[in-house]
């Protein structure tokens, strides 16, 4: 409940705060009966897409991170662990260097395709052997894929200065600059991923008790894993394609949620889904305010905002191991 209130007020603050501050009344007017004024244009074209993006990316990364840690049972797992972030990076570098795509909006589909491809290979390697999937194998396959694609990406970027410049723009990670159309195009993937993720809560709970217990409770571990990996791919793939590799959120938010509500996935998943956008939007607003009228990259602020709180929680509470 507290989380929902915090999230809604942060959304409003995010629309209001910026190089040109906007009052609450003006926001209301801009949304309900938009006129042609300059303020309405700022709200409609910049602030709302940006806030919406923060909301969606946060939901995606928070959920995907919680799922990833549940599936691999590893506290070091982040949503990019299936090779999704590095797949997206590779897709973008490929689009720039080989396919010659120049429009920023053209990159997004390459990033999404790269993410899908990478996570499919990792799922095959780590999830579908004769001996069945183990959390360890999934984690190792994922990290190997991440570094393999990362090496290719750096090699391509280092050998071509022009690619480096464009790639750097994306890899810094930002909520700014995506128009509403692009966001709505990727929205179905995010919604599908969210539904899949929220539906796997009970099954993940029994899987945490061990494979045998899960089977005896009527779940099929392989199916649960497959569903989870599909959800992670959809959520992270879309989030990373839209906002660049802001992976840290998905790594640390599930831990915060676990400390706050305990290990029950039915509570943990929605909580992570609410906390992540709060952290992301707060960081985005702060980034706009601290160095006004310039901005500090959101990836940096998220870390400086999230880590002290995280360390405080880790020290304060008794930890439930995964």
């Amino acid at each position: 409940m507290v989380c929902v209130v915090a999230l809604v007020s942060l959304c409003l603050i995010s629309i209001a705060v910026g190089a040109r501050p906007i009052g609450l009344g003006e926001i209301w007017q801009g949304i309900v009966q938009p006129g042609g004024s300059e303020i309405d244009a700022i709200i409609r074209d910049y602030r709302i897409p940006r806030t919406l993006l923060g909301l969606l990316v946060g939901v995606g990364l928070g959920l995907a991170g919680a799922l990833m840690q549940a599936l691999t049972r590893n506290p070091l797992a982040d949503p990019g662990l299936l090779g999704i972030t590095s797949g997206a990076s590779f897709g973008i570098v490929f689009a720039i260097a080989v396919a010659g795509v120049t429009a920023v909006h053209g990159y997004i589909w390459f990033a999404f395709a790269g993410a899908l491809l990478a996570s499919t290979v990792v799922s095959l390697l780590g999830g579908l052997g004769n001996a069945g999937a183990t959390p360890v194998k999934l984690a190792i396959a994922g990290i190997a894929m991440t570094f393999l694609l990362g090496s290719f990406t750096s090699a391509m970027v280092l050998s071509d200065a022009q690619t480096l410049n464009r790639y750097r723009f994306w890899s810094a990670g930002s909520l700014a600059g995506q128009p509403l159309e692009i966001i709505t195009q990727l929205l179905p993937f995010l919604v599908a991923g969210t539904l899949l993720a929220l539906a796997s809560g009970p099954a993940l709970n029994s899987l945490a008790l061990g494979e045998d217990v899960a089977v005896s409770l009527g779940h099929r571990p392989r199916l649960v894993r497959l569903r989870g990996m599909l959800a992670i791919t959809l959520l992270t793939g879309a989030a990373v394609a839209l906002a660049g590799p802001i992976v840290f959120v998905g790594l640390v938010v599930p831990h915060i949620a676990r400390i706050l509500v305990g290990p029950d996935q039915r509570w943990l998943l929605p909580t992570a889904m609410l906390i992540a956008p709060i952290l992301l939007l707060a960081a985005d607003v702060l980034g706009r305010v601290v160095a006004r009228p310039a901005e500090i990259q959101i990836g940096i602020i998220v870390v400086f905002l999230g880590v002290p709180f995280f360390i405080y929680l880790v020290r304060r509470h008794r930890l439930t191991e995964l």
């Binding site: 506290p75 984690a139 280092l158």
Partner: protein
């Protein structure tokens, strides 16, 4: 009564020295893997000395090593290639062993000095030295070493609450590591272009132009830390069973974990100070060694040899791949190690093992 008694017990080979004093388990496959890895490392090490823009025959190399032959070959071998290969070998050994220790005490296959703050602590110290001019007189090596140790100390202190647990060290490590990454990113955006380039050159991990100034401190560190690790292996295995079991078996858990952590940090910090952050070796080498040896925990010696082979081979490839420039070794290690690890996983999937 034989002095050494070797028996098969429950499908495993056990040995006993003397009457009852020393006994343990033999794992022949690990020994075999270590032997093969050592031979392969030696071959790649030699190849690294012979192959290059100025190719040398086997006879030339041996003669130059002994201090003979023509002066140019002598210079290339003794001043350029041998120091570089030695640094590659030592860095690989240090990172492989450090990763094996960390993965065992945290019981986490993703734990490595890169993940829990040591590498990026060193990176932050060096980058702030370059960009802010803070302590730049000390040079990158001292700064990197200090940064690595400082980050590790911070992690340990923050994770201490009536003792530490492997889990808490991992979580705090993530926090510290990411803080350092964000701080590096911030400094890089604030830096002048030539400073950013200089910092970037260090951050990718490079063996280019490394000589005895880098090799000597690392060698001394290894001479102390590797025997220390081997002595601690006994307790490391017990610690892997979990804190409760370990203390029930009479292991001083906190002390052992501190000692193991200290050796792992030392190995990683000295290696990073010498060559910059060569990522992935410390993570991949222990897992490759574990899959090769088919043990449950990463075997430290085999991991060290795997690390050495990985860095040596990657350096050789990095030097040869592009005609006009050299790739940083870190990039090739990523591609090489990852491809090999994935191949091992695929093979295991077929063989119903693991």
């Amino acid at each position: 009564m034989p002095v050494v008694e070797v028996r098969r017990v429950a499908g495993r080979t056990a040995f006993r020295l003397g009457r009852h004093s020393v006994s343990g388990q033999l794992h022949p496959r690990t020994w075999l893997v270590c032997l093969v890895l050592a031979v392969a490392s030696f071959l790649v090490f030699s190849a690294g000395i012979a192959i290059g823009d100025y190719p040398l025959g086997f006879v030339d190399v041996v003669r130059a090593l002994a201090g003979g032959g023509d002066s140019y070959a002598l210079f290339v071998v003794q001043e350029l290639r041998v120091p570089r290969s030695v640094v590659a070998l030592l860095v690989g050994v240090a990172l492989g062993m450090s990763g094996a220790i960390l993965q065992t005490i945290t019981r986490n296959p993703l734990a490595s000095p890169d993940m829990i703050g040591i590498t990026h602590g060193a990176g932050f110290a060096v980058v702030s030295g370059i960009v802010l001019g803070f302590g730049s007189g000390l040079g990158t090596q001292v700064l990197g070493l200090a940064g690595g140790f400082a980050a590790a100390l911070l992690v340990y202190l923050l994770a201490w609450r009536r003792g530490t647990t492997g889990y808490r060290i991992v979580l705090i490590g993530i926090g510290v590591s990411w803080t350092c990454i964000a701080a590096i990113d911030y400094l890089m955006t604030r830096a002048y272009e030539y400073e950013a380039q200089q910092a970037m050159g260090w951050l990718v991990g490079n063996l280019n132009g490394r000589d005895y100034d880098q090799a000597l401190p690392l060698l001394i560190a290894l001479l102390v830390l590797v025997p220390a690790t081997l002595l601690l292996t006994r307790w490391m295995r017990v610690l892997q069973l979990g804190d409760e079991t370990a203390s029930g078996l009479g292991t001083p858990v906190q002390l052992t974990r501190f000692a193991l952590l200290l050796t792992a940090v030392g190995l990683a910090a000295f290696a990073t100070a010498a060559a910059g952050p060569v990522l992935f070796v410390a993570l991949a080498a222990p897992q490759i060694a574990r899959l090769l040896c088919r043990t449950s925990a990463p075997p430290p010696v085999a991991a060290a040899l795997t690390g050495a082979l990985l860095v040596l081979a990657s350096d050789l490839v990095a030097r040869q791949l592009l005609a006009d420039a050299e790739l940083p070794v870190g990039i090739v290690t990523g591609a090489f190690g990852a491809a090999f690890l994935m191949w091992l996983l695929a093979r295991i999937n077929r063989q119903r093992f693991g």
